[in-house]
């Protein structure tokens, strides 16, 4: 660069430009400090903004997964309770039926047993019609009010209720009535039919039918009991899976929040240090400018 002539106006122009640059930098740091954000517009850091937007979308998605999981846990929790109380009811029915084999029983006692079996059947029906929110949980995806009619006929469908609890992870949170209480898809009696048959057999007074109560009817009931136990473990497994996914979503939420903050928020100690350095630079520039407006030859002429 050729040596420039230096004149008063070039000096003052340079000094002004320098001070302006200093002030601009200071304003930038102060903006960041006062907004608490280092990304205020896409051009501040295109890749940072891309990350920040991705993280934000992720956080919303994770929040949604958590809500879905909570809802799914509600469904499965309700199913778990229903199945547990069904097992209790089935156990009582079984005890009654086993007791009915006693030859010394009078027909009156058998009738009483039959009535109790009827009431167990009614309780079991109401368990099968359990609702979560306003939906019967064993009715699949159909919009009926009750999963089973009072006669024990299934009104729902075989649809699966799914909750999405993670990227590409959908968990079925319902069991349909036939899976738990029957009637099975291929036909055959439901658990309600089994209980009704047993009650009828007890009331009949016919020795052949009475014998059925402790043999055919009992083994049919045992079949359903095993079925309910199996389904209970299915529910447990699904519950665990959702809980795991939920915990994972919570973990990811805190990790991603941290990353979002790293990308988006101001690093306070760093920004404050920068501000101080910039202030020192600005003061130095001011001091220098004060000296630049120096005496000229004019001061030394008479």
């Amino acid at each position: 660069m050729p040596p420039f002539r230096v004149t008063q106006s070039t000096i003052s122009a340079n000094v002004l430009a320098g001070l302006q640059t200093n002030l601009e930098r200071m304003q930038g740091i102060q903006n960041r400090l006062s907004s608490g954000k280092q990304l205020n517009r896409p051009s501040d850091s295109p890749s940072g903004v891309l990350d920040a937007m991705g993280y934000r979308a992720n956080l919303r998605r994770l929040d949604q997964y958590t809500r879905n999981a909570d809802d799914g846990l509600g469904w499965l929790g309700t199913a778990d309770q229903s199945l547990t109380s069904s097992l209790d009811l089935v156990r009582r029915a079984r005890d009654l039926m086993v007791g009915a084999g006693n030859a010394g029983l009078s027909q009156e006692s058998r009738d009483a047993m039959a009535s109790e079996l009827d009431s167990i059947r009614a309780s079991l029906l109401s368990v099968a019609n359990t609702r979560y929110g306003d939906r019967p949980i064993f009715a699949g995806t159909s919009a009926v009010t009750d999963a089973y009619t009072a006669a024990g006929a299934y009104q729902g469908d075989a649809g699966a209720v799914e909750r999405s609890v993670g990227q590409g992870a959908r968990v079925t949170v319902n069991l349909t009535g036939p899976e738990v209480f029957g009637p099975a898809a291929g036909g055959g009696p439901s658990i309600f039919d089994v209980l009704a048959t047993a009650a009828t057999d007890l009331r009949s007074g016919n020795p052949v039918q009475l014998a059925n109560v402790t043999s055919a009817d009992l083994s049919a009931l045992d079949g359903w009991r095993t079925r309910i136990q199996d389904q209970l473990s299915v529910v447990g497994a699904r519950y665990n899976r959702i809980e795991t996914m939920r915990t994972r979503a919570d973990d990811s939420t805190s990790t991603i929040s941290q990353r979002l903050s790293d990308v988006e928020d101001v690093d306070l100690p760093k920004a404050v240090t920068e501000l101080q350095m910039q202030q020192v630079a600005y003061q130095a520039a001011l001091a220098a400018s004060a000296r630049v407006v120096q005496p000229s030859l004019v001061d030394f002429l008479r």
Binding site: P46, V49, D63, A143, L297
Partner: protein
Amino acid sequence: MSTFSSLGTALSALYAQQHGMDLTGQNVANANTDGYSRQRVRLEAMGGVAGPQIFTRSMQPGAGVKVVDFQRIRDAFLEQRALTEQSSTTALQAGQTALSRIELSFSEPGPNGLQSQLSEFWGSWDDLANRPGDVGARSQVVERAQTLVQGFNRAAGDLVSLRNSLTDQLRSRVDEINAQAGRIAELNNSIQSSVQAGLSPNELLDQRDQLINQLSNLVGISTRDGAAGTVDVFVGGSALVRGPNTETLGVTTDAQGNATVMWNRLGVRADLAGGGEAGGLQNAINTTIPTYQSRLDALANQLRDAVNTQHQAGDDLVAGQPTDPFFTGSGAAGLAVNPTIVADPNRVAAAAAGAGALDSANALAMAGLGDGVGSPDAVYRALISDLGADAQRVNRQADIQSQIASQVDAARKAQSSVNLDEEMTNMIAYQHAYDAAAKFMTAVDQTLDTLIHMGVVGR
């Protein structure tokens, strides 16, 4: 050599030094005047005999000093360079302003941008999947969709109004260019007359240079010296000012909203490749903004098609009619939620086709549309990232360019601005020369005195 010629020499010296001092005064007076170029008095020694001839030889010193002219000191090449750099700077600054306003209209990253509205829209489908029979959840899907659509409409509207306001700005800049060109032509005229009258037009030249300088901020120009002190100004090779005459520029717009700067008389496009604010604005109006407009439109259409395809694959709660498309309209400005669905949220299709009424497979599939590569969300994020990169690039270019421009400006000023020390030094030199010339005159006077009174000797 005549007896009194020495007095003439002394007088010429007094005049010359006086001019020098006057000019120093003028320079000092204008030390802070914008656009003023320092001036120097050009002196020349006056010779004795005009031409040597055989019989008129005489030993004779010169006949003093004469003022040739007042010279403006400036570097013509640096001036030209400054014009170019200034035009590039203002062009980039215009682009920078446009991009930063585009950035504002997307308001990213933040809770009010389209990204969060997209997320909320997808989230509402998940909520619907949890409660497919709930009218509240259905209405929420519709509400969120309307918010999203408004977000698209608003962004599109912002871009259109930005484009219109830049077009207005371009018009007013073109008016300024015409006015400025008119003033330059007038000055050309005055300069021409004063040059022809043999006067010094230095101050007029300064004024004209400053106008040209200001004009270069508005539009990329080049200049060429014309006859008799005039200067011709060219925009993209065509003359805007030629001597005392000017051409005018105008702005025409077409149906797509493009704005073109035209030569009014010739009816052809003006070449604004040289930059200037007008060049920058024209580029922003015709290139930068339309790029983002079309990308936003494409995104809106992609979203519409993806959502409609998924929606129509499912079943709504209203029996006996095919599922409606969810979005209608085209482009970011035209996008709307299907009014039929707004009127009856039961027409939102949450269930898979043929499944039970409370099935939510379709809603779940819909909620997943926002994930993954190539999803509307990813496309939108790429758009914002590209916008950021564009704006960052132009910001940097503008920073660098304005530094270059200020360096060139400093170099130019260093040539033409007044240095007080130098002026003082000159003043002392002129003052001493004046003193000396006066002394010389006294000496000649005394010599003559001696000569005149010589007669009394021997009387």
